[in-house]
């Protein structure tokens, strides 16, 4: 293959963002602490251009690059646009927070953007090697981000935990991949799928599959591989928790889709059973343990665990509609999570994290508008109509009833009833208790505005879910439905 025959167009957004990030890193060297906003603006601009490039290159047919190791298809494009928006929201929400905590530095932006590149690669890989590279780029950037607040003990501890457990998970995943490679002789997902269909060594494949599912379980935070999640959510600076808790879920969804659906769809019967166990445990334990939390970040961590269980429900159904439902779930969840952590950032100020449940007491007296915004977020997470979280839950439940797993749907809804309690409790604290702290909310107008748009968007998406749902169905069908 010659240089001329290499088509780099499909990789253009990734390449551009990589160059832009490196440029931002250089520019930042010459920017004084006072004028850090330059880096901030440049990062947002870089994201904007990446989004334009992705949308410009959008096409219904998958486009391959690097000898089929990389694929840009509608599913990855939609997810990538979601990721850009999520990262941009994180920059906006965390500006004031980071500034008073001494982490408003070039590293915050460049590491976040590198993490984003990792996620984009994950979403677009069609080879185990690229998948792994993307995953590691994401994870290593996140480890560093968690430890960004160098003086903080809890951050350092969280980073260590995250790193050790993450490395263990990566090891598991690699071991599983090596088994699959042993059985099929290929790392290319499409080739693997063909070999599986033609009858490769089933025992070896399932052996590898177990390790791959373990790795996936770690990354998604599914029970029983969830131990790292509450500690990392709690220990990280809230701005970083926002990043960890939102957009990587989109990448993780793509990651699961690429491995299980594109690569190992032939083993659907095997992985369906494993995912059912993970899903039930996650929804159950996540929801029950969340009740016992007094720290909002920990509560949201357990709530994430249960949401990731719901996400698996759609995937394990093994139908195109189920995948689309999970994709919708992932997108809705990611933006509900940005809003929920955004609310914590909104209330925090110098020397005050505002991450305890009690800090939300009486918010309706201090700021009725944001109390209502948080109410939207909580009811959406609890899956109450008409918020978008309801249609997300509805879509995944529908997809499992479709494959005659009605009993699983019943279990899932009963646990989500338990989950409703702790979301209700937050609403109760905001509306039915007296405030402990009457300091007015002091953040910039841009953050207030964008956070409001984020929260109202959760409501509007619930009133008009049609477009996004259709987009998910179409993109999944065009990307993996043909297999």
């Amino acid at each position: 293959m010659t240089w001329a025959s290499m088509n780099l167009m499909p990789v253009l957004p990734e390449l551009w963002l990589l160059c832009a990030t490196c440029a931002i890193m250089l520019v930042d060297l010459f920017v004084s602490d006072k004028r850090r906003d330059v880096t901030y603006i440049l990062s947002l601009l870089a994201l904007l251009v990446t989004a334009v490039l992705t949308m410009y290159g959008f096409s219904n047919a998958p486009r391959h690059a690097f000898t089929n190791m990389f694929v840009a298809d509608p599913m990855s494009d939609v997810l990538k646009v979601g990721m850009y928006v999520g990262v941009a929201l994180m920059f906006v929400y965390s500006r004031a927070y980071a500034a008073v905590r001494g982490i408003y530095k070039g590293e915050l932006f460049t590491l976040s953007l590198f993490a984003l590149i990792g996620m984009m690669v994950m979403a677009s890989s069609s080879n185990f090697v690229t998948l792994y590279i993307g995953l590691e780029l994401l994870s290593l950037s996140l480890y560093a981000l968690v430890a960004l607040q160098r003086g903080s003990r809890s951050s350092t501890e969280a980073a260590m935990k995250y790193f050790i457990l993450g490395a263990l998970a990566s090891g598991m995943l690699l071991y599983g991949i090596s088994m699959i490679y042993g059985a099929t002789g290929s790392l290319d997902l499409v080739t693997v799928a063909r070999k599986v269909a033609n009858g490769a060594n089933h025992t070896l494949l399932v052996f590898g599959l177990v390790f791959i599912i373990t790795g996936i379980g770690f990354k998604l935070g599914n029970v029983p591989f969830h131990m790292w999640l509450p500690d990392v959510y709690d220990g990280s600076p809230t701005a970083i928790t926002l990043l960890i808790g939102s957009v990587p879920k989109l990448a993780a969804f793509a990651f699961v889709m690429r491995i299980l659906v594109v690569g190992l769809h032939g083993l659907h019967v095997d992985w369906q059973g494993m995912l059912i166990v993970l899903a039930i445990l996650s929804i159950g334990i996540g929801n029950v343990v969340a009740i016992a939390q007094s720290n909002l970040k920990r509560m949201l961590a357990y709530s994430t665990i249960s949401h990731m269980g719901f996400l698996l429900l759609g995937i394990l159904s093994g139908t195109t509609n189920g995948y689309a439902a999970s994709m919708f779930y992932a997108i809705v969840y990611a933006f509900t999570a940005t809003a929920s952590f955004g609310m914590i950032l909104l209330l925090s100020r110098e020397g005050f994290e505002s991450d305890r449940l009690a800090d939300f007491k009486g918010l309706a007296h201090r700021s009725p508008w944001f109390a209502f915004m948080m109410l939207f977020v909580m009811f959406s997470m609890a899956g109450i109509p008409v918020f978008s979280g309801f249609f997300a839950k509805f879509a995944v439940l529908k997809s499992i009833v479709d494959v005659n797993l009605t009993w699983l749907a019943v279990i899932a809804v009963l646990f989500s009833l338990i989950g409703a309690f702790y979301y209700l409790r937050v609403v109760k604290l905001m509306f039915m208790d007296e405030p402990l702290d009457t300091t007015p909310i002091q953040v910039n107008v841009d953050m207030k505005l964008i956070l409001s748009v984020n929260c109202v968007g959760i409501l509007l998406l619930g009133l008009m879910p049609e477009r996004l749902l259709q987009l998910c169905v179409d993109s999944v069908r065009l990307s993996v439905g043909l297999m």
Binding site: I384, F431, M432, L469, Q470
Partner: protein
């Protein structure tokens, strides 16, 4: 305009509620009140043509509107009312107006939010009654919980938070199972959420059994039926007056309506097979809960238990036919009973609210001799107490009488147990009335009481007219029920087994 009447009934209160909310803090409380009054008044006005333009000969849905909402799931904005639901839409708009007036000067904190919550809830409840699409129904049915939760939790009494959370979780438990059943039926009926498609679906007996369990949890909790009724006394006691009025007059009806719209027509064979369970639970509610009401020390709790007992009549009326020849008497009587209970219970809770606003106690023991200081009020309260115990010529009598007559045809002992309510109902209501209103002036609080003001008088008078009017001329209501009840009875009379 007239083809969008129902949409107006749903959206006028919601938009008015949002406008009220936009008036902001308590500095603009006056504006919020006036806006709320206008909104509720308009909301009632747009529902009135539903009554006048209703065709009595037509058993199916009227005022139908159909718009695709979420095509990916085949969910439509499909609304319409028949005889079963039309009255509840009007009753709801009517009660909302009363609630706005009832809370006029009583609510002093967060007025805009209070009024807005009621208006929005009113629109959502209308939506649930008018839905012809199961998912649309579900969305309204659930979303309604949010304002209700806030109303009880923010403006309620001492133990309000406990009551609010209990109310929310109890009702959510039922509705989540409902969701799964709807999704199941969606696939069975060839990917449609139309309620009428569900109703015409042939289902094996076992499946009808599962569906009945799900429907039972969803709707029995709302009705509420024994033994899932325990949230209601807590919620009522802690809710503000307006909250209690809406809870008793409307939201309970939504549960009973669910039985009529979903449980009976979708699982008629299940109803024939297991209907006796519902009948038994209804009779337990009528007799046992009636006795429980007798020993209450708190007036609101007493009326709450009496609501459960009265709603037992509704479910009894619905399921009675399963044990005998299909007859319209039971179902029609039950519907009349529900409408009447809407007026009477709202009135009872309002009366208790009037006293509570002055004395700040709901305990029967804190009153006595109120008639001496509040003669006008005592007269109204007497009328509503009589209606609550089913005195002829009040609305309370008609429904109970029809259900009992229907029950005699089916089984004497059903009728016997049901008729005991005439004794217990009179006993607990009138005994409470005697202790509160008659006798010597009990304490200085009662001695200082002022009689009802013009605002309260207006509410009481309107309710009194409704109670008496319905008792004297029930035909005005039953004529519009006939065709729809007939359609329903014919439908459930046929077996749906495959």
């Amino acid at each position: 305009m007239s083809e969008h009447l129902l949409s107006l009934a749903i959206w006028v209160p919601i938009v008015a509620g949002l406008l009220v909310l936009a008036t902001g803090g308590d500095r603009n409380a006056g504006l919020a009140r006036i806006l709320a009054l206008v909104g509720a008044g308009l909301g009632l006005l747009v529902t009135l043509p539903l009554y006048t333009q209703f065709s009595v000969l037509h058993g199916g849905a009227q005022f139908v509107e159909m718009q695709p909402w979420i095509e990916a799931f085949n969910i439509n904005y499909h609304i319409g009312v028949d005889g079963l639901s039309m009255f509840f839409v009007i009753l709801n708009a009517f009660t909302t107006l009363l609630v706005v007036i009832a809370g006029w000067e009583v609510i002093k904190e967060r007025v805009a939010q209070y009024m807005a919550a009621f208006l929005i809830m009113s629109g959502l409840i209308n939506g649930a009654f008018a839905s012809m699409d199961a998912m649309l129904f579900y969305v309204f049915f659930e979303a309604m919980l949010i304002p209700l939760y806030l109303i009880v939790g923010i403006w309620g009494g001492q133990n309000r938070v406990y009551a609010a959370i209990k109310l929310f979780l109890y009702t959510l438990m039922g509705s989540l199972l409902l969701l799964v059943s709807f999704i199941y039926l969606y696939f069975k009926s060839g990917k449609s959420f139309e309620i009428s498609d569900f109703q015409h679906l042939a289902l094996p007996l076992a499946v009808q059994g599962y569906l009945m369990i799900a429907f039972f949890f969803a709707f029995a909790v709302k009705v509420p039926m024994f033994p899932v009724h325990t949230w209601l006394p807590d919620a009522h006691v802690e809710a503000p007056t307006g909250g209690s009025m809406v809870l008793a007059a409307i939201t309970l009806k939504l549960g009973a309506y669910g039985f009529l719209r979903f449980a009976l027509p979708i699982a008629p064979d299940g109803a024939r097979e297991w209907g006796w369970i519902i009948i038994a639970l209804s009779l337990v509610a009528v007799v046992y809960i009636g006795l429980v009401a007798l020993v209450q020390k708190d007036m609101k709790k007493l009326v709450a238990y009496s609501s459960i007992s009265h709603m037992g009549f509704a479910t009894l009326g619905f399921y009675m036919f399963t044990k005998g020849a299909p007859t319209m008497m039971g179902v029609e009587g039950a519907l009349i009973q529900m409408i009447s209970h809407g007026f009477v219970s709202a009135a009872m809770f309002f009366c208790i609210g009037v006293m509570y606003d002055r004395v700040h106690s709901r305990k029967i023991a804190d009153y006595g001799g109120v008639a001496n200081t509040m003669p006008k009020f005592a007269a109204f309260f007497l009328l509503f107490s009589m209606a609550n115990s089913g005195l002829p010529a009040t609305s309370g009598f008609v429904g109970e009488f029809m259900v009992i007559v229907g029950a005699v045809k089916v089984n004497f002992w059903y009728a016997f147990a049901a008729a005991s309510t005439l004794i217990f109902g009179a006993a607990y209501t009138l005994w409470m009335y005697k202790r509160v209103i008659f006798g010597a002036v009990a304490n200085h609080h009662v001695a200082d009481l002022k009689d009802v003001n013009a605002r309260e008088f207006a509410v009481l008078a309107v309710l009194a007219v409704c109670v008496l009017g319905m008792g004297l001329y029930p035909e005005a209501f039953s004529a519009r029920l006939h065709a729809s009840v007939d359609t329903l009875i014919t439908h459930v009379g046929q077996s749906k087994l495959p």
